[in-house]
């Protein structure tokens, strides 16, 4: 459906080139969830922006239904823009404060001429709000963002994305600003869109628990410093992580269970500092922190992403295994 092939994004800065995303291959399949996880600065958002054609990759390509996004003509591009929708992280910043909910949600409908008149726009907007469980929808139509809570705003953002009947929704940390209670209900709403409407998701989060819950039947790709280090079906990656970085991430999660929290085994990293993107270590990017570091290839040769243990892995030690 939506494919990234060797997509690369290098930012030129005064301090040197920053390879924010250093060649990733990802596939978002119809009706499936692909979850990107990793720490801040690992290139998750940059990848999402490339996937949505909000920025063009410096190398590699982004394909939508087999067509390269960069070479699309006007008509194709308009169709692409409709089919791929983006939900931002911060619902306080992503909604225009001087527009009502109706105006925000119907803007795309009117722009893409999907509705005839204002009357129809209102009817369609009400349907959309009901779909994201903002009911009674009539009460919300004329509200401004400041009159709503964070969870409600994020639902408006989801409704706006749905207005275009998208095939792919790119959700960038869409639930991380919300309270735990609201987070689950928004995830359930998104899950219903996935199941009922067959919308595909490129879901970005740093919260592994959320990734596990939302992408249980999909795939997870773990990113570190602009590269995918482990990529496979969610149950395998979360319950049986193989890459030492994934293991560290999963063991670092605070579990809501006091006994478990005290007995859980933690992966000890050799260093807690993330290397600077302008000055990457030779060999494997993770080797200065890696608990499995072994003399030999780790600090000289970059591990390729290869199929191993029923998933894709980039680690010399584990794949040699």
């Amino acid at each position: 459906m939506l494919t990234l092939r060797g997509a690369q994004q290098v930012f030129r800065t005064a301090r040197g080139d920053v390879p924010a995303v250093a060649g990733v291959d990802l596939d978002v399949r119809p009706g499936q969830v692909l979850c990107l996880v990793g720490e801040s600065g690992c290139g998750k958002t940059t990848t999402a922006r490339m996937a949505a054609a909000l920025s063009s990759p410096t190398a590699g390509e982004v394909l939508f239904r087999g067509r390269d996004v960069a070479t699309m003509d006007r008509g194709e591009r308009a169709a692409f823009r409709r089919s791929v929708q983006y939900i931002h992280q911060d619902p306080y910043a992503s909604l225009n404060p001087v527009r009502t909910v109706f105006s925000t949600v119907s803007a795309g409908l009117r722009r893409h001429k999907l509705v005839k008149d204002r009357h129809e726009a209102r009817r369609v907007t009400i349907e959309l709000l009901e779909r994201v469980e903002l009911t009674p929808a009539e009460d919300y139509l004329d509200k401004y963002p400041h009159q709503m809570s964070g969870g409600q705003r994020q639902r408006v953002a989801v409704a706006r994305a749905l207005a275009m009947e998208p095939e792919v929704i790119i959700a960038d940390e869409s639930t991380s600003m919300l309270d735990v209670s609201i987070r689950v209900s928004l995830l359930n709403t998104l899950g219903r869109l996935r199941d009922d409407l067959g919308v595909s998701f490129l879901f970005i989060t740093h919260d592994l628990a959320v990734a596990k819950y939302f992408a249980w039947r999909g795939e997870i790709a773990v990113m570190y410093l602009g590269k995918v280090v482990e990529h496979g079906p969610t149950p395998q990656v979360v319950n049986d992580p193989r890459h030492p970085y994934t293991q560290a991430l999963i063991s670092a999660v605070c579990e809501p269970d006091p006994d478990l929290a005290r007995t859980k085994e933690r992966v000890r990293l050799r260093s807690s500092d993330i290397p600077d993107l302008t000055d990457l270590p030779p060999g494997c990017d993770f080797h200065p922190r890696c608990p499995l570091y072994a003399e030999g290839s780790c600090d000289t040769e970059r591990p390729p992403l290869v199929r191993s243990h029923d998933r894709l892995l980039a680690c010399h030690v584990v794949t040699r295994g």
Partner: protein
Amino acid sequence: MSPVNDLPTTPDDPGPLLSVRGVDVGYRTGRRTQVTAVHDVSFDLHPGQSMALVGESGCGKTTLGLGLLRLLPRSGVVPKGEILFRRKDGTRVDVRTLEKEKLRRFRWNEAAMVFQGAMNAFNPVLRIEEHFLDTFRAHERAGRRRPRKEILERSAELLEMVRLDPARVLGSYPHELSGGMRQRSLIALALALRPQLIILDEPTTALDILTQRSIVERLAELREELRFSMVFITHDLGLAAELADRVGTMYAGRLIETGTTRDIFYRSRHPYTSALINAVPPVVGDLHVPESLPGGPPSLNALPPGCSFAPRCAHALDVCTTTRPTLDVLQHRGAGLSHTAACLRSTDAELHAEGSPVIDRTVNPAHAEPRPDDTAPRAASTVGHAGAPASTGPAPGSVLDAASAAEAVEADERRAQPPC
């Protein structure tokens, strides 16, 4: 006016470090109008304890934390109650009525705060060393003014304590540090004058997971070394499970359930606490479908009559909408560790029998069923390696007086369970 109640305390039982009695915290919203954000909160914090305040946004957690140190914004008031604090010299003061200069000596020397959002807590135009110098000069006891060099040496020690490189950090501006480094610097700064109590407001929110982990572990170690007490405010229940000996749940400005961490996580008796816990999907084990908790906390201006949680509660009865439940003691323990809940159905056998509102791991003392092991359902990844590896980290509070009492209570309970 006598703000200081110089009550001498007996040396063998120093009593609670912090004793909060019927405290209300409000904000003035107009000339004659006021909204009460925290209602009638009482708890005792004993030396060495670590207490988590949990709840959704807008439940009054931060307001209470700020109120305890009188750090509220200008519009904030503490109209009622007592906040008794036992100072290092053994005298008790009521923080609520402390006068200006004494309040200044109290803050940081006795109790310090680590603010939410490490991003904004530092002054962006001052170097980190400037913040340390300011703190020492403003809060250290009069007559002990130290030269700049000595303060900087001490600051360097503090930064090393939180595993930062002083040479790199002291001369930097806040924007030159990462979020984790800033948060660590803030913790170092809070520890500067060896306070007995630290209040942390969302200490790890907005940090990356590996950074969060290292801060959590460092905090637990520091607490063992320096023996301070903590009150931390969080909406991350995982953090509470990990770092706290005891938990207080807040809803709509009231404490609605308190107890040891195990009480709250395994035997919670308030549907709100259970709902919060069930809303967090765990990472280990098979897919656990979290339950959503629809709606949000009520507006503080228009609290529903009766139980504030009744409109959202799945187990509410008619009586819940008319009668406000009181915080009842369910299991009495010393050192402020009693399990209490403000729910009319907290002792309702029907509700708590088969662990219905609580996670299926629940064991209810009243209906004890054989519990093989609390961790058994997720045993897959909770390998209880013999001679727990060093990486497990010290069980927080294991050497602390009051906290070890909590552990002892827990251990007793565990023993009381039928053997497996």
